[in-house]
């Protein structure tokens, strides 16, 4: 694990991408910081960070795009998977190297509240909990980017897909306004989701009968719930979809609430995508 971690970290700085990402984030947040906090004298760094966070995240594909796709493309994954290091450790080594690169600008941002405190009123607790939230969301998104990178052998495709997914997540609030909020609308939406899940199950397990049975059972259950208590479906889909984006709960932190649920959500999303990366690699090797 150590070997992979060290190699990847070095490679980020050999290829300039690491430096570029750090420079980009620091410059971007620096501009906002000097304009709002320094020039206008607004004492809360957390708010400023929240308003630029989405750009910080949208730039993450720069880091994650190459993680696995480059290895698959240049066939260097052969030395990794034929070594005695288990795949799980390889994935974690790579993940930690990306997290390390991401941590560097975050650490630099930690100086901002200190600078503000030198000029008067400040709120360390809110500022640092915001920084922590941004860091954890970043880590979860890195895991997602790594998973997407493990699916393709083209870093460009990995970058574009990751960027698109991040953008959709960012715009989710606006997009959900297109989704019907009526009871019947949500019910149909749920049915479609069940069928899609069934198709995904079929494509993975190649068991048509089992997929059909599961879809039918879930469909009947949904219909029964709809008939018995249709009010449950009111506004269900938009509410559910709005909860997906990780950045949704970022505001809570700048509103002086330390949202533990959100923290757990970020960490579990990160863990899930690390797990999925391992699975996608194993599937490729064994199919």
């Amino acid at each position: 694990m150590n070997a992979v971690y060290k190699r990847d970290l070095k490679s980020y700085f050999n290829s300039m991408i690491g430096c570029l990402y750090i420079a980009f984030i620091v410059a971007l947040v620096g501009i906002y910081f000097s304009f709002y906090n320094m020039k206008s004298g607004y004492p809360y760094f957390g708010d400023v960070l929240n308003s630029v966070a989405y750009i910080v995240f949208l730039a993450l594909p720069m880091l994650t795009m190459r993680s696995f796709s480059e290895e698959i493309k240049s066939k260097t994954d052969q030395i990794l998977y034929t070594s005695k290091v288990p795949v799980g450790k390889i994935v974690i080594g790579k993940y930690l190297s990306m997290v390390t690169v991401f941590t560097i600008p975050i650490l630099i941002l930690c100086f901002c509240p200190l600078i503000i405190s030198a000029f008067g009123s400040h709120d360390f607790r809110t500022d640092y909990s915001c920084i922590l939230a941004v860091f954890l969301i970043g880590c979860a998104y890195i895991a997602m980017g790594m998973f997407i990178s493990s699916l393709t052998e083209s870093p460009i495709i990995a970058a574009v897909i990751t960027f698109a997914v991040l953008l959709v997540l960012q715009l989710m609030t606006g997009l959900t306004s297109f989704i019907p909020s009526s009871e019947i609308g949500s019910f149909i939406g749920c049915l479609i989701a069940v069928i899609v899940a069934g198709l995904i199950y079929y494509s993975l397990a190649k068991n048509g009968f089992m997929a059909a049975v599961l879809v039918v059972i879930a469909g009947i259950a949904l219909t029964v719930v709809y008939i018995v208590k249709s009010s449950l479906f009111a506004n269900l889909l938009p509410t559910f979809l709005n909860k997906i984006p990780l950045t949704q709960s970022l505001n809570n932190f700048s509103l002086k609430t330390f949202d533990v649920t959100a923290i757990i959500y970020y960490v579990s999303v990160g863990c899930m995508f690390i797990f999925l990366t391992v699975q996608s690699i194993q599937k490729k090797r064994y199919s």
Binding site: N2, A3, V4, K6, R7, K10, S11, N14, S15, S74, K75, T76, D77, Q78, I79, L80, Y81, T82, S83, K84, V85, P86, R285, Y286
Partner: protein, 347 residues
């Protein structure tokens, strides 16, 4: 020791490796021979644990590559078809990374790297970026990575592809050197390479093993008949009359006026029957000048072409026939004499 048991690898409907089984003994150099797409690389990738098999298993020193990968992979050094090199690393840096990845202990790493670099003659380029190296040197870096820590089994997938003749000879020497202490398995579609380097040759076609033996034995096994060509200073009738006196001779083909009024005859005899001495005395006693005589030997190339050409069904047939032949071969092995290509000239 490696045991490959009923290995099957399917890509969708295409069967790349079809029920392949063989055993590799320690301390020998094995050659994997087969045309492109025969399943050589796939087999090697499964043996080294890079990809999983659809069915069957590989045991490395008794450890299954699928159930105990860590224990099994410890014994293997692998150079894939395309050396797995990180272009943005320096040679020494890369070998350090490889050593760490292989779990060589910190105290022993420097020595192991030095050994590998000496063996592959990389000392001059240790500080250079891999992307700036020539293809030959890149191949050597890949080889150095495979032999790092001197594992018991070294698997090389087409180690000399794309190298110039001098480099090919150098790499072959390295392989021979390695073969003294380690088990080496190399794949190739170049026949000279296999016959020059390997102790045993396994010929693979359409994912199936069609033959496995020493290069010399393979040449012998595939000979159904031996052929001798003679050039005689006499006309067809005289020769025909004389040849009739030797009972072992089968078919004869005549070509008159070959050069300078000579008659060329191609004589087919049963395998194991050497009529050359008889022919010599026959023509000498009858005062007929025998100008040239040489026996044909089926080269490894012919064996290879014969075994690997044709469809999958035919390959299966050849395989069966070979097995049968192998059994007969071992039963009357003592009676068989070594044949050598000789040219006898008589003035």
């Amino acid at each position: 020791m490696i045991e490959v048991k009923n290995l099957v690898k399917k890509y969708g409907n295409h069967t790349a490796v079809d029920n392949l089984s063989f055993t590799v003994e320690s301390g020998k150099i094995y050659g994997f021979l087969g045309p492109n797409g025969a399943g050589k690389s796939t087999t090697m990738n499964i043996m080294t644990g890079y990809i999983g098999a659809t069915e069957g298993d590989v045991l490395i020193d008794g450890h299954s590559i699928s159930n105990e990968p860590e224990e099994a992979k410890k014994h293997i050094g692998y150079l894939p078809e395309i050396p797995p090199l990180y272009m943005d690393m320096k040679v020494l840096e890369y070998l350090k990374f490889a050593a760490e990845l292989k779990g060589i202990k910190k105290g022993k790493r420097a020595k192991a790297i030095e050994e590998a670099m000496n063996l592959t003659k990389l000392n001059d380029v240790s500080g250079r970026l891999i992307k700036n190296l020539s293809k030959g040197y890149k191949q050597r870096v890949g080889l150095a990575q495979a032999v790092l820590g001197l594992p018991d089994i070294i698997i090389l997938d087409e180690p000399t592809v794309g190298l110039d003749p001098k480099q090919i000879i150098e790499i072959r020497d390295v392989i021979k050197k390695l073969g003294k202490k380690h088990t080496v398995i190399l794949s190739s579609h170049i026949l000279q390479e296999v016959s020059a380097v390997c102790d045993e040759v396994m010929i693979i076609s359409h994912g199936q093993m069609v033959a496995c033996d020493t290069p010399d034995n393979l040449e012998k096994i595939m000979e159904d008949t031996s052929k001798i060509t003679i050039k005689v200073k006499a006309d067809k009738n005289t020769i025909e009359r004389l040849l009739n006196q030797i009972p072992d001779i089968g078919n004869t083909e005549y070509r008159e006026n070959a050069e300078g009024g000579l008659t060329e005859v191609t004589i087919t005899t049963k395998v194991n029957v050497d009529v050359r001495e008889k022919l010599f005395h026959l023509f000498a006693d009858n005062d007929v000048a025998l100008i040239e005589m040489y026996s044909f030997k089926m080269s490894l190339e012919d064996v290879f072409l014969k075994l690997t050409s044709g469809s999958k069904k035919e390959v299966g047939k050849v395989m069966k026939a070979n097995r049968q032949k192998n059994i007969e071969e071992t039963s009357d092995d003592d009676s068989k004499n070594d044949e050598e290509v000789e040219t006898e000239d008589e003035q």
